[in-house]
Amino acid sequence: MWCWRVRRDLTALADGELSPRRGAAVRGHLEQCSDCRALWQETQRAVQLQQRLMPGAFEVLDLAVDPMLREVRLRLDDDGSGQMRRWFWHPAVITAAAAVGLMMVSVLGLFNPLLVAVGLEEPPEEVAQRPELFRDYPLFEHLEALENFDALQSGSGSATGAEANE
């Protein structure tokens, strides 16, 4: 076996990360090659040194864990409102809200103004009988559905005009 291939595997061998078969092959070579054996001993020492010194190299002591945890919780609380907004747009919530809305306008009669507005339903009888009460309402004046009021107004308009002349 070529030395360079074995040397490439020495660190993994020291870390116990070679497959059993590959490990056996490398160990077999080390028994025969003194140069690689010397390098293997050096690698083992290097790995041991790292294992001993590295944990202390960036070890953090005296960490204020509780304030840090509080800070994380604060951030998550802030996120909570964001999650609520996302929850609001959930399809199930939108469907439920639409169903409630439809029920309100249909069962409670809130739908009728819409039907009157688009001309699908007659206006209430009181409106038809006393249109002068609603004449000053810009809304009513501009509603297409109340076009038939013109006819009513023209019918009663002569009476009103006659009264005014009197």
Binding site: L49, Q50, G56, F58, L61, L69, R75
Partner: protein, 192 residues
């Protein structure tokens, strides 16, 4: 160890069920190592703490997507490393690299002498010097080599787990760790 045998995985599964106590337990257990891992990336302890806090916030935010395919720490350190890299990219535009001595104080980071009551004063001083030189050498390594080495040597992750964190192949990890080990061996050749 299979993922389901990892006690941290069990805690994370509890977090997934909105268990706040489990989240706190994970936080208390891993916050210091996470800050230590982030430290050489970001240059200051305050920034490392900031990254660590954000990492745990992300752990909680994404808890419902967590799948116990691997050790909890592989998932955690992937988040931490990605945050560190983002922070690095931002910092590259802001400032020059901070000197090693400004980043961390080796004497502060070394274990206190009082913790090494079995060693004499001279050994403690040598240990501190060794840690300081190791820190300096680690900071000189390319980011991927340092990450791979720290995850393997400090966090005790296998090459397979390191590969999951770094999102690369096991053979790439093997090469990264080998090159880092050889560099440190050459730098600290006079130490035993």
């Amino acid at each position: 160890m299979r993922p389901e045998e990892d006690p941290d995985v069990q805690l994370m599964l509890a977090v997934k069920r909105d268990d706040a106590a489990a989240f706190e337990a994970l936080f208390r257990k891993h916050i210091a190592p996470v800050v230590g891992f982030a430290l050489p990336f970001v240059g200051s302890r305050a920034q490392a703490e900031e990254v660590a806090q954000e990492a745990f916030a992300q752990v909680y935010r994404t808890r419902h997507r967590y799948q116990p395919h691997a050790k909890f720490t592989t998932w955690l350190y992937r988040i931490v490393r990605n945050l560190c890299l983002s922070e690095l990219r931002r910092a590259e535009n802001r400032s020059a690299r901070v000197s090693v001595s400004d980043r961390t104080n080796p004497e502060e980071n070394a274990r206190p002498v009082t913790d090494q009551q079995t060693q004499n004063q001279e050994d403690a001083l040598l240990a501190r010097e060794g840690i300081s030189r190791m820190q300096t050498t680690l900071l000189k390594l390319p980011e991927q080599q340092r990450s791979a080495l720290m995850l393997a040597r400090v966090e005790g992750l296998s090459y397979q787990e390191v590969a999951q964190v770094l999102e690369c192949s096991v053979s790439a990890v093997k090469s990264l760790i080998h090159r880092a080990t050889m560099t440190i061996r050459d730098e600290l050749r006079d130490m035993r």
